[in-house]
């Protein structure tokens, strides 16, 4: 089966085709980062306007890359939520009506399930059950994944998402918007031990996170040491170290608590080099395994939506013609795949 995947939940337009026998046939991503930069954050209306301009041309581009005609598609998957309502509606409207027009099934995919299942597209694919750390600009969650569609939230951020805290701290350091990746690069040149940032919520039980305090701590550190040479790179390094150690600590706790052997990491922050290195070291120490999607599939993308949709469509699930998006949608409310569906 050839499944077209469409992602439009935030500020990236992603399209891909996944073949259930041969894997990913082609994918394209159009990022709106430059569009939103001068506004200092994602402007939902502008995001929606860009999605409706870019989605159809991207579909053509991906079909060409995949050497497929529209008539060779067997199903269409699109992100139904969570995300920005207006942005989601572009994907649901176009995806659902294209499926209707072609007479093939359509399915609305949970964006975070897409991220969570993305590492399963890799050659070295994690076996269920596993613990998943989902970290992006909008999400910070530790999930327990028993099987496709069977998830339990173990912990999540009580305030800022981790990617958000990277971006906010970067902005504070004058790195522009979105500066999370620039902060990580700057951190590589800094001394992570010049300042000691707190490790929020690690001194008590539980798997929840809190990152808004780190941004405040960074602000105060900067204010109190303005004239120190290399202050910004040292703050960046200390901030990143605190975030990474906090995430690693909670992941280890989650593995101990569940007794599971495998951890998967997904979402934009999953591309953070320091986080990846630390998780690999900890996995070796504790005799567990850690899995990541390829770097290209850490950010929002159409491939993960095509893949998650392919699993559900192959199992016989499909949606009706309702185009409604679900801006807020818990992963715990998803349906499990029918047993023995492969």
């Amino acid at each position: 089966m050839n499944i077209l995947g469409i992602e439009t939940s935030c500020d990236e337009t992603g399209v891909a085709v996944y073949n259930t026998e041969t894997g990913l046939l082609g994918h394209s991503l159009y990022s709106q980062v430059i569009l939103h930069a001068e506004y200092g954050g994602v402007v939902p209306e502008l995001a929606s306007r860009d999605h409706i301009r870019k989605l159809s041309p991207l579909i053509h581009e991906v079909l060409e890359k995949s050497s497929l005609r529209l008539s060779e598609l067997d199903g269409i998957a699109f992100t139904r939520g969570p995300g920005l309502m207006g942005a989601l509606l572009v994907g649901t409207s176009l995806g659902c009506s294209l499926a209707f027009s072609l007479g093939i099934p359509a399915i609305g995919v949970h964006h975070m399930e897409g991220h969570l299942l993305a590492p399963m597209m890799e050659k070295n694919s994690p076996p269920f059950p596993f613990v998943a750390l989902l970290v992006s600009g909008g999400h910070t969650q530790l999930m327990l994944a028993r099987a496709v569609g069977q998830y339990e939230i173990l912990g999540q951020s009580v305030d800022d998402a981790v990617g958000e805290s990277f971006d906010k701290t970067a902005s504070l350091l004058g790195l522009g918007y979105p500066g999370g990746a620039a902060l990580a690069r700057l951190a590589e040149q800094g001394d992570p031990d010049r300042f000691t940032f707190p490790r929020p919520m690690t001194n008590r039980p539980g798997l929840d996170f809190s990152f808004s305090g780190l941004k405040t701590f960074a602000m105060n550190t900067l204010r109190n040491n303005t004239d120190e040479p290399g202050i910004k790179k040292n703050i960046a390094a200390a901030f990143q170290k605190a975030v990474v150690e906090t995430l690693v600590d909670k992941c280890q706790r989650a593995l101990r608590q569940t007794g599971y052997q495998a951890l998967i990491v997904a979402g934009g922050v999953g591309a953070n080099k320091c986080l990846r290195e630390r998780l690999v070291i900890e996995a070796e120490k504790s005799g567990t395994q850690v899995f990541f999607p390829s770097m290209a599939l850490c950010t929002d993308n159409g491939a993960m939506i095509a893949y998650a949709g392919a699993l559900r469509l192959s199992a016989g699930q499909q949606d009706d013609t309702n185009l409604a998006g679900r801006p807020r949608w818990s992963m715990e409310g998803l349906t499990a795949l029918p047993q023995n569906s492969g």
Binding site: L46, S56, L98, N322, A324
Partner: protein
């Protein structure tokens, strides 16, 4: 007398305002579905498409063209219409006629009031503005006299001559327009809205003039371009 033009099969849809509507022209008949359902467009639109096709016993790829209300109107509504029409057009390989939702509303008002040949159509654009355009009947079709605009109510203008019908939610939102232009207005009827069946004659004209576009060019026309302030603009305001 010229020969009657060959009938064109067009499926039109509109979700720009509070009505969700679909219409299908087939030979000389017109089949339509319309529902006043401000928050249910996403649920209703494809079943409506399905229903008119079923009634006409046609498949999408047996049609000549698609059409949609391209705006102005609710931003989200415009994109639902554009998204659906793009998806249908891609899948069935059909051209698309984008139609002004203001012109469609004027066409609908003329359908019900055959003396209304000069119409100002206006939607409430919120934040103290109005979307508007002037339309005159030429060969049975409401045609735009000048550009459509978004402006303050005080900047809504009528052409120099004639008596005009004033229709649409803009006239209810800003009664001062009626006071200012009273001498030029034949009648003011704010309770009017665009419907897919009135898109059909306008789309038919676009299709015959070979001005229909491909799926990816079936885009909304918002009129309002400025929807957020940049960091620089916000900083300038504070200082």
């Amino acid at each position: 007398m010229s020969e009657k033009p060959h009938p064109v099969k067009i499926l039109a849809l509109d979700t720009t305002q509070e009505y969700c509507s679909v219409a299908l022209s087939v030979d000389d008949a017109l089949i339509w579905r319309e529902e006043l359902a401000p928050r249910s467009h996403t649920e209703l639109i494809l079943p409506q498409v399905q229903a008119v096709l079923a009634e006409a016993e046609l498949r999408l790829n047996q049609l000549d063209a698609l059409a949609f209300g391209r705006g102005p109107g609710s931003f989200t509504g415009l994109r639902i219409a554009a998204g659906v029409v793009q998806g249908l057009a891609l899948g069935a390989d059909l051209p698309v006629a984008p139609v002004s939702s203001l012109a469609a509303m004027a066409q609908g008002f003329y359908r019900e009031n055959s003396t209304a040949t000069h119409i100002n159509a206006a939607f409430d654009a919120r934040i103290g503005e109005v979307y508007w355009g002037n339309y005159a009947l030429i060969e049975g079709i409401m045609q735009s006299m000048g550009d459509e605009a978004v402006s303050a109510p005080d900047d809504l203008l009528l052409p120099a001559t004639g008596g005009w019908y004033a229709i649409g939610s803009g006239w209810a939102a800003y009664p001062q327009m009626q006071h200012r232009l009273a001498a030029r207005l034949v009648k003011t009827i704010p309770e009017t809205a665009p419907l897919a069946r009135d898109i059909i004659p306008l789309a038919d004209k676009i299709f015959r003039a070979q001005q229909a576009v491909s799926a990816e060019q079936a885009l909304p026309v918002y009129l309002r371009q400025k929807v957020a302030r940049t960091i620089r603009e916000r900083t300038a305001d504070r200082s």
